[in-house]
Each structure stands twice: as structure tokens, then as C-alpha cells.
Assembly symmetry: D2
Homo-oligomer: 354 residues x 4
């Protein structure tokens, strides 16, 4: 067995304890330290995982040559400076979603990691759940056929965040999943965002994102902090089958419906009287694959270690994070323009030859 | 008891038999004739309700002085000419949704009916279901408080219509309901429509409509012909309570959640550090009102008779139909503009003094 | 095409109209007459299906040589005399469930039909639904393995019947289905019935039936008139898979779970310390077969015609009806004995060689 | 503030860690030690709650005069000897369900605690959940009226226990809840038990319990280790309303239906022709009370402390545990008698005057 990698968790707020627990439980990692400006909060997290050193000094962490990597779970606006400092110090970096608070900062982060030859990983946790891994696999093997539409709903009574709107709070989940499972990832040209702030909180609490996908397909996301009921559902329609992922139904998270509209030779018949005759329904079986019960974040930290050791991009690398960020950036511009579609801008730096 | 009114049903296709059955069962109406260009189809409907005269001549129907009113269940593009001819002949008119296939034609219909002092009613059947009547009542009495958002989903594996897209096929239901239950009706300034036609059928099969409402609120509609699962759900969020209408759950169609976000003095504290402290959750009881089981269309034909007898607009009058049509018109323009918001145009003719 | 068979429907109450409609719609049958002591009620049913002769005289019906068969939808206590008279007159007979109100009368009916060489069919309508036909097929082909248990729940707010308790009103459905789908039918030796009449109506409104099946398996039925929620669910557990039939879920009526307990070499290890190690779980996929939408009663009348023409017992013949009746009879005795198991008595007359 | 009470947790298996965590978190208690024959297992639990002394010697625990109370989470067959030794040593005792493995041992335990004037509490955890506390409250205040029936279902794919059957494993939950919420507790005269062991494991894996309650009412419990789907539902029907508790629906655990059968003057009219007219349906509103999210076991340890300090029986005292045990005992006799009802034997010792 190779030696364990040393990691520091930066940020002891909401997500930090989960990172700490999973690094601690991993055979790949040694959780070297927990860093937070609030040293007591850091200590609280350290106590929860059984005696890990703490510090309030990021400089100290980065100056420590034994540290191989850091995992950042701080507010989004700090991702850029912390990541740059860490890369400068030669550390691999995993960043909480969203990658940054501005697209150009994300681009900067990806470019720097690339220059340094270091791993920059986006912690898109959902992508490592058994359900999403299965969805990706099913799509990759062609079980759904060509993708026709993706409709994602993520709504519940949610805490109104002080610094971000509902798009930046919730949609990164849906976006990172769509980017992960579709063969071409988040391949859109423009984003239309419609939001409402009916409680006058200063930010959208109800939001909708519409994105055309290649081939006439479309992705749509509904995020909402004001819904009394909780729904987390994604429908992925394909030419062969349609998949419904209901994340709140542990007994049947994924259903694959062999139902759909069959369009025989539509092109030919579109203008003929007999056109209707070419449309038929398929009402086939429904199938729900068994899913293992595994904690996604355990898979995340394993992938981070593997990417470092194998000197390859992580499955959800900085570029994946940047694609998500670019959609959020376009959404912000669309909102500012009253809902008009905003072009998706995605400047991914060319990876220099190794 | 006053004498029965005589009505002719025009069109013996999908909806005509339902109209015929309900006029036949009503104590207010005498179903005088069923008219369809295809006389055999008319006869089929007549047989189903027990011996009603049939004809293939609309002129004949309109020339008959004993006929008080007609109910039109023909394709949308024929609504305008049939209605105008009927109004010209002094008949009251009920029209299937949508009111017409073009906004300006709907305006014309409303103006003509107004000039003639005749009833022009939109058959917005859903508005007469026990569920929607109850929703309207609850909102009117203030049970929900001010409306924050409306989110409507109407999706299932649907027949791809030869002449209309999914917006014109399904959204009139949602639009007519929203128009009916909100205190100010469909009071929007612009419509953004996003559609997808991934099967290359020549029309959108997946569609989303976003509309700002007064006071920062928002309405959104999702219609879809390609979904393997069937959902008919509308969420109406208010400052006091939120209502969920699940039309496919006969055991609990309407749920009123006394849950929400309470924002104490948001205006004052929006820029203070203590702002978060002013947000709190209400997790109160849920309540589901009992609903009578009644056929909506029975209520529709009663309302048509009452409006004629009382010389008043129907609850869902031509103007309501025109508001729905105006949203569809704006949606068409938004689609053509790639999803950019299109202004809502609504020229309702001034009702001349009686 | 052979000539149509002539049938008379006896009884124009709750079920009669459904029989009339399906005989009327069948290409196998000519609905010759509708017979009810209340001639107006008979006329009402006749009008509903479009002009069928009516009569209030059963004798007249039975004396008519053109009548091939009768379908009885009268109260259970009249099934025996009407059936006997009809068999005497050489008519084939289909009887509403339950076959009779007393077991010995049912035996008599089966024996007489056998003697006369006439078809006696039990109208176990549920057995002809697409769902139950599929369940029978799945069990027959071994998809579930050996049957371990059957648990059936049929509860809702039901009309308290004037003449029968909840067992006789609802359980015939469950019993006839179990008899139909299990390879050995309703093969039990005793029945325990537990009932409650907490409203003092003079009959059980809440009921439970427990029946041991061959091989250590067990069937259990819960019927209830007092439940505010409606449940119609049957679980059939097998050694290989378990099937859940939820008749109120049109989107997924049947689910086949490849989940269960695997007991490796239980016999050998039952007394060893390592026994636990031999138990393991299977958490496999779930599968929901597509079902056609077809009216069961249409299949029933077709089967009645086929049995007559082919001179063979119907799939749900008098003996099937008698097995159901025998369980109800044993349940009655168990109830009278305070819930003690009552032996199942089933004297099926030996069918004489043709 | 009074001083904390000292408690030892006996048994570090499945339930012990939960007890340890809750005693540790309570302001009423000092978790003094964790005792298990397997000292490593005890240490594991101690580590999980942060440094609590461990021991493998029960004698040592009982000899320690600073220990006020013990909480027993060992196999059922050891409850009697441990409890007796602890009472002898002057310790208060809380016991995991079931109280003991034999009814007479439970009686002995209750009698000894009574003699010693010490608290003997049954850890009926479910009774301290917000849902069950609310149900008890609703019944107590008359919201349901008189109780007509209780139907409880607790089924899922469960571990086949090495030492107990499905009745002893699962039914104590249902029984303790029924005992807790009904005004007269588990007031039955006999128990009928029907079980199946179709996998030949040597014990029932599927089980049904039927118990008459006072006034013609009835309780029924279905427990099952072989069900692929998980259901935890209790229906409590009353003369006024019916309550459904679905423990797996966090969004609406409790629903109170104002639906039912109204029987006007049944006694008078039972034999008259007009009887049917006296039955009518109530289809009123449904109401779902908000429930706080609180861990039940925290309430359990608080109640244990309060009972000790206030020198009163716990809300779920030894006698409650004994009532549950007596039903299990009767069920065992009924099973042995092939399902015949077995009389409920309940010898609760007279509490001697203080």
C-alpha cells in the first residue's frame, strides 16, 4: 500500500464536518489539520472526528510541506484567492460548489491548476451517489437513446441564504448532475433565467433555468426556497426510454420507462395527410435498478486521491466546475436582462502538453 | 320554472359528446340539434344521448329562430367565423378553448358579442371543477395571503396534435385556471416561452412559460407531451399559506400548508448584520378540504344558461378567453424570438353602456 | 362465424347494467332480454344499452327455447333457486359472486350443472383484469418461485350492506383472485375469521381472514368498510421474487421485486451456530410489466361463450365459485366460534365421464 | 439545579449506543459507565460518545453506590436476572422491550420493583415520538370519539432474528403504542395469532395478531420480515374521525380524516325496512397536525429521570411492559394451539401502599 496523502480541510462551517469525517474514514488519506478563522469552530469539527490538529492560519497550512492537498469548504467568494494561494504552494485542491463567485475567477483557477500540473477538483458530491452513477452508466450504454429533454425540480422550504440567490444555492446540484450524465455534458449555447423575489429579500427565491441542448433537446431546472413540499426529481427523456429519478423515494429512486412516442419516418410524412398514422405509442414495462447504499462523499475523496496519484483530471474536474459556473454566470446576465436568453461563455484554457 | 333554452352543439369530435351529454342532462337546456360536417359523426353523438336531431348545415342551425345559443367544439381555426356568424344571427355563443387561433380574431369576437349584447362564454371547464372553485374561494377569502408564485405542471404521454403545439394544446388549461383563481386574473406584462421539438415534429412537444405577476410574483407553467409519468399539479404560494393541488390524487386533491418563511421587518434590516435573525420558519398544520364530486361540465352549461337569462357576462366570459389567448399569442412571439420575453398585448374593447 | 348465442340478464340492480352493456358489445352474444321483478328498473337498463326487450317473468325467460344462457345478478340468496330452474330448463348459467348464500346450495348447483352437462360459470370479474391475468401468468411460469405468503387488503369507506357482512361483501374478490392465481388454487385446510362490529350494525364491518396454505405458506385478507382511505393491495411473496399489486396505482399496478431473504442450506445449518451466516439479502431490481387497458367484463362474457361452444368448464367455473363459497362458509363458522380456526369443507362432486 | 443522576448502560449491542448517546446528551444524567461482557464492544460505544469508563463486570456496576440507575439493552432472556440483581442493589431500572422473555418473569420484575419502591421503566421508545404523543393527545381529548378499530402494519425486508420470531421482534412496537394511546390501554381478553414459516427457519416470519377490545372494537397487527416494501402504518378508527399514521411519510405523518359512517339510531331501526336511510356518509376535511422534530430517546431518558426524582411510575412503566408481554405470551399460546384464541393473562401485583 502506498502512503496516505495528507489533506487539510479549510472551512469548518456546514460542509466542513462532512469532508473531515470522510477524509478521516478513508484509507487513502490522512486528515492532517482543520483550518478555520474561527478556531473554536475548527476545534468542534476536530473533536467530532477524534483528535485532529486545528489552526486558524491558512498560511501555516500552505507552508507545511507535508500537506499534499486541501479541500475548501468556505464561502464561494473566497474560493479564488484560497485556491490560487494553494496552487502557488504546490497543493492539489478540491473546491466546494460553486467553483467561484465569478466566471473569470473560475477560468483563472482552472488555468493556474493546469499550468502547475496540479489537480483541481470540483466537489460535485451528487455525481458520486449510486443513483447518478447509475444514470450516467445507463445513458452511456444507450439505454435511453438520444436525449430529448431534461427536466429537474429541486424545491422545498429552504433557508434564505444571506449571500446568494436560489440559483446559486441550489442549481449547481442540478447543473453538475446534468453535466456529469449527459454524453456531451452541459453543452448549451444560451441560458434563460426567470426569477421571482416576492418577499423582497433582495434576491430570487423562486427560479427557473431554460437551456437549449444540442439536437433540439432542452434542459430546464426549477429551484425554489418557498415550496412547502419537498421535491427532488429529474426526468430525462430519450428516444428509446425515459428515466425518472426521484431522490426522495428510497424504495424506487430510479425508474426507467419503456414508454414513448414512436415517430416513424416523420420527415417524409410531415406534410402528408396520413401523418398521424406514423405516430404510435409505446407503453412498455417499467424497470427500477437496484442501487447500493453508499455515501457519495466517500467516493469523492477516493476520486480526489486517485486523480492525484494517477496524475489525471478528476471525474468532476475544474473544467466541470467551470461549466457549471458559466451557466450560473449566464443566468445572472439573463436575470439582469429581464429573462432574455444570455449567451453561454465558456473559455476553457487549452491544457498544455504534459 | 322558466322555459328551457334551445342549444345546438357544433362539432361532434372529441369534446362534442361531452357537451351534448351535459346539455341533455340539464334542466335549463333543450338540446335541439347536433351539427357536424360529417353527418354520421353527428348521428353517433345523437344516438349516445338518445335521439336528438342532427344536421350538417351550420346555416340551417343559425337560421332557426328557435335556437337560443350554440356551443362550439370545432377546431380552433374555425371558432372565429362560426362565432361571428352565430352572433350575427343573434345567438349566444359558448366556445371551446382556445377562444381562437389568433389574438386579433379573439378581440374581434369579444367586440362583436359586446356590440350585439350577446353572451360570449369561454368553456374553461376546469374552472368549474370543485377543486378550482374551492381554490378561488380560498384565495378570495385571504386564506393564502398575497400570492407569491404559481407553479403549474401538466405533463404526460400525450398525443402529438397535428395542428397545434404543446403550448396551445395544454397550457390553456393552466392559464384559464390561473386567470380564474387569482384576484387580478392573468395580470402579466410579458411572457417568456421556451420550447423543444427534439423529435422534429415541426412543433414544440416540451414547453415552459414564465410570466411575471404584479408585486414581484411569478407564474410558471410546464407542459409536456413526452413524459412517461402523468403529473397535474399546481402550487400556489402565498404570504400566509401555500396550496398544492394534485389533480390525480382523488383522496387529497387540495392541501393547504400553513408553512412558510416569515420575514420580519425585512426592509429595515436588509443591510444589517442581524438580518438572518429576522427570517423564521412556520411549520404549521396541513389541511385538506373536502370536495364534492360533481361534473364540471354540468356547472358550465348551468352558468351559460344563467348568464343568458340574467343578461350578464359568464364567470368565464369572452374576455377571460381573450386573456388566455393573449398569453398564447405572446408565447408564440417569444418562441419565435428564441425565448426572449414578449410583451403581453391585451386590447379588450370597452364595453359600451347598455 | 358461428351464430350468436342468446343470453338473458337476470337482475337489473347494481351489476346488471354492466353485464348488459358487455353482452351487448360482444360479437359472441345477442342480448335477448333483461329480466327484473321491477319492470321499470329492467326498462332503465334496456334503455341504457339501446332497445332490448324486458320482462318481469323469469319463467317466461326460461320457457323461451331460443335463450341459450342466463347471467344472474340478483341477491345471493336467490342464486340457488334461479340457477336450478335455469339448469332444469337447459340453460347455461353465469352467476354473480358469491355463488350462493350457503355452501351446500353451491354444492347442489355444481352437481346439477355437472349432471346436465351445462356450463356453470362464476363471474369472478377481477380474474379477467389484465393485472390478475398477468399475475397468474407470472406465477405459472415460475417468476416468483414457490409461494410463501399472500397478503390482501381491500379497505375503504364502504356502504354497510343490509344483508351481508364485510366478509361476504368484499372478500369474494380476494378469494377468487387467490384461487385463480395460485397454482393449487384456494388449497387451505382451515379458516380463522376475526371480525368487529363496533357500530352495532348487527354484522362485521371490519374483518380479517387467515388461511394456512400448503407447504407452510399462508394467505391473509383484510376487508374493511370503515377505512377513510382506500387501499386495494395484494402482496404475493415467493422464494424467488415478490409481487405487489396496487390496483389504485394506474401508473404502476404490478411491481415485481427481486428482493428477498436467501436461505442457503437451511435444513443442514438450522441447529448450528453459524446459521446466521447462511441468511443473506437479495436487493435486486424492481420490474413493472406493462398492462393493456381492457375491460375485464368483456373478457368474462367471451369466456362464457367460449366455454359453452367448446363444451368445457369456464376458467372460473362453478367449482371455483364453490371454493370461494367454502372459505366464506368456514369463515362464518370461525366467527361464530369466536375466531377459532374452522375446517374448510369442500365437497366437490365428481364430474361424471362425458 | 439538582445533581445529575448516575446511570450505567448494560449491553453495547444494537441499542446500547443510542442509549449511551442520549444519556450523554441529557442534562439530567451522568453516563457513569458502559458495561458489556465484550469489553471491546463496550469501549467502542464509549469512544463514540467521548470517553466514558467501561467494564465487563455487572457486579462491579451494581456494587458501586454512586450508580443510581441502570438501562438494560441486552438480549431479552437476560432481562429478568439483571433486573432482579439491580433492584436488589437498590438501582432504578429501565429495560429494553420486551420486558422479559416469559410473562411470569415480567410479573416477578414488576412485583420486586414495587416492593423495593424503585422505578421500573419499559423503554417503549415509539411512545415518546412526536407522532405518538400527538395521537395519544388527540384520542384523550376526544378528537376521534370512541375507538372502533386499530389496524397496524409493520412490514419490510427484515433480518431473521436468531432467537425470536417476527411477533417478538416487531409486535412489541405496535403493542406498546396501542397500550399508550388508547384510553384503557391494551384492554383485551384474548389474542389470536396466525403465523407462517414458509422458509423453514424454525420461527414465524409472517405474523398476524387479532385482539378484541372493549365495546366491540378490535385491534389487529400485521408484522412481516419478508415484505420487499416497507410499510409502517397504523389506522385508528373512531366514531367521530379516523386517524392514519404513516411513519414513513415525513411530510404528512398523521392525517385525521373527518370521514365516516354515521349511524342514526341504529338500535331502533335495525330491523326496519327504512334502516338504510339511517346510514349516511360524512366526507369532511382532512387535517394533518404539524409535528416537532425531536428524538424520542431524549424524551425517554428525561422521563426516566423525572420518574425517579418524583418517585412516581414512568409513563411507560413496568406494568405497561407487562401488558405488552402478556399479549406476546398469549400470542405464543395461540400459535401453539393452531391459531385458536388464547386468553390474555395479566396478573399485575397490587402496589403496596407507600
Amino acid at each position: 500500500m502506498t502512503e496516505r496523502l495528507n489533506v487539510a480541510v479549510i472551512g469548518a462551517g456546514y460542509w466542513g464536518p462532512n469532508l473531515a469525517r470522510n477524509f478521516r474514514a478513508s484509507a487513502e488519506w490522512n486528515l492532517a489539520t482543520i483550518c478555520d478563522l474561527d478556531i473554536e469552530r475548527a476545534q468542534g469539527v476536530a473533536d467530532g472526528v477524534g483528535g485532529v490538529p486545528v489552526t486558524s492560519s491558512l498560511d501555516e497550512v500552505l507552508a507545511d510541506p507535508s500537506i499534499d492537498a486541501i479541500a475548501i469548504a468556505t464561502p464561494a467568494r473566497t474560493h479564488h484567492p484560497i485556491t490560487l494561494a494553494a496552487l502557488e504552494a504546490g497543493k492539489h485542491v478540491m473546491v466546494e460548489k460553486p467553483l467561484a463567485d465569478e466566471r473569470h475567477r473560475g477560468e483563472d483557477m482552472v488555468a493556474r491548476a493546469d499550468e502547475q500540473g496540479l489537480v483541481l477538483m470540483a466537489d460535485h458530491t451528487y455525481c458520486y451517489t449510486p443513483a447518478v452513477l447509475k444514470i450516467r452508466e445507463l445513458i452511456a450504454e444507450g439505454a435511453l437513446g438520444d436525449i430529448l429533454f431534461v427536466d429537474s425540480v429541486r424545491i422545498n422550504l429552504g433557508l434564505i441564504q444571506p449571500d446568494v440567490d436560489v440559483f446559486w444555492d441550489l442549481a449547481p446540484h442540478d447543473l453538475s448532475i446534468i453535466d456529469f450524465v449527459l454524453p456531451d455534458g452541459l453543452d448549451t449555447t444560451s441560458v434563460s433565467a426567470h426569477g421571482a423575489d416576492p418577499l423582497r429579500t433582495g434576491k430570487a427565491c423562486v427560479g427557473y433555468l431554460a437551456m437549449p441542448l444540442a439536437g433540439g433537446a432542452m434542459a430546464h431546472i426549477h429551484v425554489n426556497w418557498l415550496s412547502p413540499t419537498k421535491i427532488r426529481q429529474m426526468v430525462i427523456g430519450g428516444t428509446k426510454r425515459t428515466l425518472v429519478w426521484d431522490d426522495l423515494n428510497p424504495q424506487q429512486r430510479i425508474s426507467v420507462y419503456d414508454r414513448g412516442v414512436d415517430l416513424a419516418s416523420v420527415t417524409k410524412s410531415a406534410s402528408t395527410v396520413s401523418r398521424d398514422a406514423n405516430i404510435s405509442y409505446r407503453l412498455g414495462d417499467t424497470w427500477s435498478p437496484a442501487l447500493p447504499e453508499r455515501e457519495a462523499l466517500g467516493n469523492v475523496v477516493s476520486e480526489f486521491a486517485a486523480a492525484i496519484r494517477e496524475q489525471r483530471p478528476a471525474r468532476t474536474d475544474g473544467e466541470a466546475g467551470l461549466r457549471v459556473l458559466s451557466v450560473l454566470d449566464a443566468a445572472r446576465r439573463s436575470l439582469a436582462a429581464g429573462g432574455a436568453p444570455a449567451p453561454m461563455i465558456l473559455d476553457i484554457p487549452v491544457r498544455s502538453a504534459a
